[in-house]
């Protein structure tokens, strides 16, 4: 295998695999940060570090790298790159060299993020980077701004590429109504990235201008306003939750349809109502992140209602997912376990978000472990389970080989138990005693000590499960048994070519018939 061929590749599948390797490496680093934090919190008082700044840097790195270096690139970088051209029967993406540029930028961004651990004053501004702290800290805010800008730019050019690809490069006969739900999800996610990333870019640029060039955008003493940043930041970062949510629920749709051998239930409702609805509402809910920041009532009431109304498109998506099981022929290989795991975790995460949509309940819950537990369920863990399930699902296509089914299932169950121990306890302790997040120490909450200890044990358990999955992939890719071209029996186009697909994907471009759909099982 030639390293140069990989670095200078313009093949969408190789670009995708580069995204996967980079994002899994980022996941590993950010996961180690999580374990370090859990070790620190396992008892009251300093345990593994006596310096709160060290802990704050771990926390910053965990959040920033998990979101910007792992979830968004794995979902909109790896899955989009690997699957979208194959699913629509295209030879490659519309702009292969731009695609290569985006993965290079992604690696630059990840390397910048990892520099956090090697420079003298690493950023300790949390992934949210709120001023005034981010403009007065000794930590390196510029590194934070630059990382966000580079990764954001990589995502924007990816967005242009994929919207063009899906619009113009579908196989003959493949109409918009026959796209995989996953492809629709990627379209929705990139539409949001194109609209909202520039806002985040401007926000993080302004804090660095304030800090290093002496501007006063967020300095009230000179006529600036600290809340401007929070509005700009969440105007992007709430849609970012859906940029993660849509692709991961799209992966789950593909897996559940395949393993239930059924068409997606009420496809049009899922696509137009579910995905379309989320894209429409995504930009009108950010105020719920500012419920305890002195927002005026007129902004609160409207966005409380719009936040609650997110339950409508999300509900339609969940009904479609669960409905797909109806009269199915369901089997339970590892990808399906992860997909059903996502449904369960997302159900808990989504429903526990409802209290946080209500402005008065948030007065107590905001900024506590309840919030942390909720968003880990709904986005972090559900998203990661979907990513792991998706990698297992397309593993035979990517490698041509099969992973070990038994170890896959063992890894799933260990992780599943671990995440529920950690994040259920987290929500419980947050709601019951109001333990605040982002705490290096919690001496004023001695009643939290047992729960913290339990969560540390749970974190080790879930870490073991993830390591088993990673080893399973590495061993499977190296010496797993040959998988065949279509081990799951799916009619979706990516399974009609050989495994792994050659450069150009098919010897001659595929076309699809009138009766074909990516979910028309049993009709070859």
């Amino acid at each position: 295998m030639n390293l140069k061929e990989w670095i200078f590749t313009t093949d969408h599948k190789r670009v995708g695999i580069l995204y996967l390797i980079g994002s899994i490496a980022a996941f590993g680093v950010a996961g180690i940060m999580a374990l370090l934090m859990r070790a620190e919190l396992s008892a009251i008082g300093p345990t593994i570090t006596a310096d709160p700044t060290t802990y704050n840097v771990w926390l910053y790195a965990h959040g920033a790298i998990m979101i910007l270096g792992f979830q968004i690139p794995a979902l909109t970088g790896f899955f989009a790159n690997y699957c979208v051209p194959l699913m629509i029967g295209a030879k490659d993406v519309a702009f292969p060299r731009v695609n290569a540029l985006s993965v290079w930028l992604f690696y630059v961004g990840v390397i910048l993020a990892l520099l956090t651990f090697f420079i003298p004053d690493p950023p300790d501004v949390m992934w949210t980077g709120y001023p005034p702290y981010s403009t007065i800290t000794a930590g390196n805010t510029a590194l934070y701004s630059l990382t966000v800008l580079i990764l954001g730019f990589a995502s924007i050019i990816g967005g242009v590429n994929f919207l063009t690809t899906v619009a113009f490069m579908r196989a003959p006969g493949l109409g918009w109504g026959k796209l995989n739900v996953f492809v629709w999800c990627i379209l929705g996610a990139f539409v949001m990235q194109l609209i909202f990333v520039p806002v985040l870019g401007s926000a993080v640029t302004l804090i660095s201008l304030d800090k290093y060039l002496g501007t006063h955008f967020f300095d009230p003493a000179m006529g600036g306003d600290v809340l401007t940043y929070q509005n700009l930041f969440w105007f992007y970062s709430h849609p970012a939750v859906y940029v993660i949510f849509l692709p991961f629920i799209g992966v789950v749709f593909e897996i559940i349809a395949t393993f239930a051998r059924n068409p997606v239930f009420n496809y049009k409702a899922a696509v137009y109502g579910g995905i379309g609805g989320i894209v429409l509402i995504s930009g009108e809910v950010w105020i719920h992140h500012l419920y305890v920041s002195g927002m005026p009532d007129w902004l609160r009431i409207g966005q409380m209602v719009s936040t609650l109304l997110i339950s409508v498109p999300v509900g339609l998506l969940v009904i479609s997912l669960v409905g797909t099981l109806y009269k199915g022929a369901i089997s339970f290989e590892t990808p399906m376990l992860y997909a059903l795991g996502v449904v369960f975790l997302f159900l808990i995460g989504g429903l526990t978000g409802i209290p946080l949509a209500i402005t008065s309940l948030t007065v107590n819950l905001s900024e506590t472990y309840y919030v942390v537990g909720h968003f880990h369920y709904v986005m972090a863990v559900a998203g990661t389970f979907a990513i792991f399930g998706g990698v297992y699902y397309w593993f035979p296509k990517m490698s041509g080989r099969m992973y070990n089914e038994l170890w896959g299932k063992i890894g799933f169950w260990i992780t599943f138990v671990g995440v529920n121990i950690v994040f259920w306890t987290m929500m419980d302790i947050g709601a019951r005693i109001g333990l605040p997040r982002r705490y290096y120490d919690y001496a004023q909450f001695p009643q939290a000590a047992d729960a913290q200890h339990l969560m540390t044990i749970g974190a080790v358990i879930l870490g073991v499960g993830f390591v088993i999955a990673l080893l399973n992939w590495i061993i499977g890719a190296a010496k797993g048994p040959k998988a065949g071209d279509n081990p799951w029996g799916s009619p979706s186009l990516e399974w009609t070519t050989v495994s792994p697909p050659p450069h150009g994907n098919w010897p001659s471009p595929p076309s699809v018939s009138e009766e074909w759909s990516p979910y028309a099982h049993g009709k070859r």
């Binding site: 809340l227 920041s293 409380m304 609650l308 009269k327 429903l351 402005t359 008065s360 309940l361 049993g522």
Partner: protein, 252 residues
Amino acid sequence: MLDDKRTVGALLALAAAGPALAEKTIPTAARIIDPAAGWDHLWRDVLIDITVIGIIFALITAYLIWKYRRRPDNQQGSAPRLSAAAAIGWVVIPSFVFMADDFYLAANGWQLWNTFREVPADRLEVQLESGMYSWDYTYPNGVQTQNELKVPAGKPVLLRMTSRDTIHNHYIPDFRVKEDSMPGRITYLWFYPQKPGTHVVTCTEYCGVMHSYMAGQVVVLPPAEYQAWYEAEGAKVKKAAAPAATLSKTPA
């Protein structure tokens, strides 16, 4: 319990200061609704609401997974094609069910929100300036305390808050209330201490290196004991301020 003179005084003060007040006020004559009790009540209702929805969805999913597991290996799914009416029905009916619940929760949530924002007129008003890493309280008579807010039982307490450096958040878990304090802005929160006791105050907005150590307490005293402390401290402040005759007296 209602003191007529005090009510009239409060109303007069209110009329004078009315336009300057940022928050809504309700006359003392109305029964004081404790926001913390309201929070506990709504939280319980919402928990029941989401638990019921969650259990319904989970049971249906579990049933489908069990009922339609694959028996012979070559079995295919046999989902019927949805008619147009069924497809529309599966959108419209669930949407209306969800929306009904949303609006019900929004209405209840908004009502409680108003309780959190409508401060009873008969109250103790304390200024709070937060800084890295302390809570600095100033009472109406000029008494200043740090990290300890002494208040009388049975009287609503209003905090007017600002910050001299980064953003902090004054959170009192026992009273279910928090709000950011920020440079350049004045925010407020109120709570209703009813029994003597001590309650943790802690910072819930990441404010810097020592964020997790930025804690204090609310000490609720019996009214007489509080009054004695307040007057004794107030006298000390007056004595200290007396030589500087040019300083204007703080209105009580």
